[in-house]
Symmetry: C2
Subunit: 281 residues, 2 copies
């Protein structure tokens, strides 16, 4: 019984079909079939019920899946620890909100790279809710998200204090729709709460996937947006964008670095925590 087979089983179960798993694992679907069949013949039991609309775990498959998940997690934890012990070369997979990535991370990551040159560091951006999901599934090791964070599921340390501002094309001109990220973005949630309290629950919301796009639309006078001051300032150079701090209690938002409770920080993660502690934003 090989780890690859277990990984494949977990991937199929997670993505609901052989073909989806093949895409995720960068191989052809026939390989997935072969591996699952090997596992199944090893146990003499079907792991999945195949049918239109994908593959579902059988009862036996379900129990195998649960054990496989914890086994693989332990396997990866050991591998991480050893890579780390071997010379601080354990990878660190970070997540961050778009705006944090743009406004805050360049300085932090530069300092981190300087102190852990060998550690491969990767970054994935997305809204807070999705990042917490990735964290929970162990797809990322630590994520910069808008606080506060559910302390029952994650540890978190304060990283940056952001001031939320309203961005518009002219002072006080809050006409047109609110440009915001897709659902799951906590800044958007804050903005909507603010608008409701200000009696503007009718404001239309336009979803956009990129921060640049949002600012571009706002600059063109198509509407307004809510974003952290730092992030706007970075983009504002040479533009006519106007900013205005949100009223309390919406102005002050804390960005935290969140991790799973059971995550054992690798060297690079410890250094990141030190960097955040040294230079509080």
């Amino acid at each position: 019984m090989d780890v690859l087979l277990l990984r494949t089983m977990v991937c199929v179960a997670d993505h609901g079909s052989f073909s989806a798993a093949a895409e995720v694992m960068n191989c052809v679907q026939s390989n997935i079939t072969t591996r699952i069949r090997r596992l199944e013949s090893h146990f003499g039991q079907a792991l999945f019920e195949r049918g239109r609309g994908g593959a579902r775990l059988t009862a036996f498959g379900q129990s195998a899946y649960e054990r496989a998940v914890t086994l693989l997690a332990q396997f990866e934890a050991v591998e991480r620890d050893l890579l780390d012990a071997a010379g601080g070369a354990a990878p660190l997979r970070l997540g961050a909100m778009e705006t944090t990535a743009a406004a805050r991370l360049p300085a932090v990551l530069k300092a981190l790279k300087a102190r852990c040159p060998k550690a491969p560091i990767s970054l994935q951006t997305g809204p807070t809710a999705r990042l917490l999901g990735l964290l929970w599934e162990r797809k990322v090791d630590a994520a910069f998200v808008a606080g506060p964070v559910d302390a029952d599921r994650f540890t978190s340390v304060p990283a940056f204090r952001e001031r939320l501002v309203v961005v518009s094309s002219a002072p006080g001109r809050l006409e047109g729709p609110l440009f915001a990220f897709t659902q799951g973005c906590s800044y958007r949630a804050t903005a909507e709460t603010w608008l409701r309290q200000a009696g503007r629950s009718d404001t239309e919301v336009v979803e956009m996937g990129s921060f640049d796009g949002i600012l571009g639309c706002v600059e063109a006078g198509m509407g307004f947006a809510v974003a952290p001051e730092r992030a706007v300032c970075q983009h504002r150079t040479g533009t006519s964008l106007q900013i205005e701090v949100l009223p309390d209690p919406f102005a002050e938002i804390e960005t935290c670095l969140a991790m799973r409770l059971d995550y054992q920080p690798v060297t690079a993660a410890k250094v990141l925590l030190e960097i955040l502690a040294e230079a509080p934003g």
Copy 2:
């Protein structure tokens, strides 16, 4: 990082050299070299210090070894459980003392095979001390050993009550050396204690590896032996061997089935426990 690589590392560490590991793993030594080098280059760190007289773990190798051992144990536990859940086909590796294997196990194993026909059952014989060692290293799942057993390290259930007898070629003729198994046999320890208490500490001891050999020598009048009554009776048919029960408190010895505290019994093991509970010997 493949399981085979970890298994190889553990095997090298356990047996002290690449070539010894190669023998145990049924492959040529160059394979071991290749696998260890792959692991080492993966971590960028040496796992073993090579030298005349074998390979020793480096500090890093030691920590890798410890993690690998627990990981492999978990891996195997999961595999066992799943094979078991898939249809009671999980293997059961038994250990037993020579005399137990000869006198008691045939009936028990027959009943076990009848109730778990699919489960592969293997048996390894040896003296109590070695069996407990195998148990501890998880090389066997359960072992029939002479009680009492250290309850801090093993669970044990009573299996058979044996009456120890002195075997000689003529009634009362306890001349010549004591024929016994190698060190580690608890019957031998009992016999030596008895002899000491009887003021015969000077009795010479001849070690032999097989029970048949011992009885043969005794029958030829070369000396005497101590063994469970049942085992002697099986072999005695048509011989002139004389038996005499040992004085208290040496006569009554309990044979237990011992398992590691953390062993999760597979179906075959549970059935074995039932069989022992039904027909106490």
